[in-house]
Amino acid sequence: MGQLQNFTKGFVKDNPVFVLLLGLCPALGVTTSAFNGLGMGMATTFVLVSSNIVVSLIKNFIPSKVRIPSFIVVIASFVTITELVMEAYMPALFESLGLFIPLIVVNCLVMGRAEAFASKNNTFSSIVDGLGMGLGFAFALTLLGGLREVLGTGEIFGLSLYAGDGMLVFVLAPGAFIGLGYLVALNNIVKKKLY
């Protein structure tokens, strides 16, 4: 598999949210606005790339029976670093995402890529994989967040599109599931056309 396919697979073909259905807790929880989705996606991308690098570097020194706990410690460290740095230098973003940042630890996507990809491939492929998957995740979250924001509040990135309150259900939890369902269906159509 070439590096280009390795990178682009995260967007449509193997999109973490729409196809693999991984990391749904943050995908449903924070996507009340496009900005939140983007912020969460970026934070996850950072953790994913960093943990992929470290895991691919240390894979030969880790006995296979303790690889999962070792990977978890690596991932948890990067999540905590993200949390601390975000709180220190981006307090506004931290205020809206703060609650969900620690949950990146249990995001199956990060663990999944460490186990399924980084522990079997070299460092460069792992970086590309982490970037592709992370940005695909960010793309999905921004799309879902944007959809919910437009339908639920009539705004996009805080800009008002139409007057009125919008359909409140899209801001609440059920709207996340409804929105995700339609986006998964849409992604399946696009995927069939492309591949």
Partner: protein, 198 residues
């Protein structure tokens, strides 16, 4: 994949090394970000205080236990030319729709509310977040509200505060937070008025 054998010694050693490296990294990052984090929190607190108090040139901090609730409230007494001009109270409530709501309430020396701003909350976006000043003008009704004469409760509970449509729980919780600040203020009024500046 792993070249190393999964022997007991290998596994223990690997986990110890991984955990030690992780804790060392985290300790370093924690020390690096400690100061900026405290500065960011302090800046947010100072901004909230200056939004709910009239102009002041000196601030004295005190803390009092509220009649209800488990944690003490922090009082910021603002002085201008040696005169007490207002008290900013950092208050909280556990009655929110999702998690604790924190707010900063400014009182004039007699107990009338000057203004209220939220510090942190996790209420529903689009509904409960109307307690934020830049989302809705709902909380403007607290400006000049006199809790000695009126009741700090939402209308459905028999109070004098307009409700937030579809977010009664949030509005009720916000009133609870402000009322907690007021009750504590009332109870300690004498000691607040007579506080000598250091």
């Amino acid at each position: 994949m792993a070249k190393k054998e999964s022997t007991f010694a290998n596994m223990v050693l690997t986990l110890i090394i991984v955990a030690a490296a992780a804790s060392f990294t985290l300790a370093t990052v924690y020390n690096l970000t400690k100061e900026p984090i405290e500065r960011a929190r302090e800046a947010a607190r100072q901004e909230a205080i200056s939004r709910v108090l009239p102009e002041f040139d000196e601030l004295v901090e005190k803390s009092f236990m509220p009649p209800t609730g488990s944690d003490s409230l922090q009082f910021n007494l603002g002085y201008k030319d040696g005169e007490l001009v207002g008290v900013a109270v950092a208050t909280y409530t556990g009655m929110g729709y999702s998690g604790v709501i924190r707010a900063m309430v400014g009182f004039d020396p007699d107990g009338q509310i000057i203004d209220v701003v939220h510090l942190e909350h996790a209420e529903t976006p689009g509904l409960g977040d109307k307690i934020e000043k830049d989302k809705s003008d709902w909380s403007d009704q607290f400006q000049g509200f006199d809790p000695r004469e009126k009741t700090l409760k939402v209308e459905p509970d028999g109070g004098d505060i307009d409700n937030i449509t579809a977010a009664t729980i949030t509005a009720r919780a916000y009133c609870d937070a402000i009322d907690r600040a007021f009750q504590t203020f009332k109870e300690n009024h004498a000691s607040i008025i007579n506080t000598e500046k250091e």
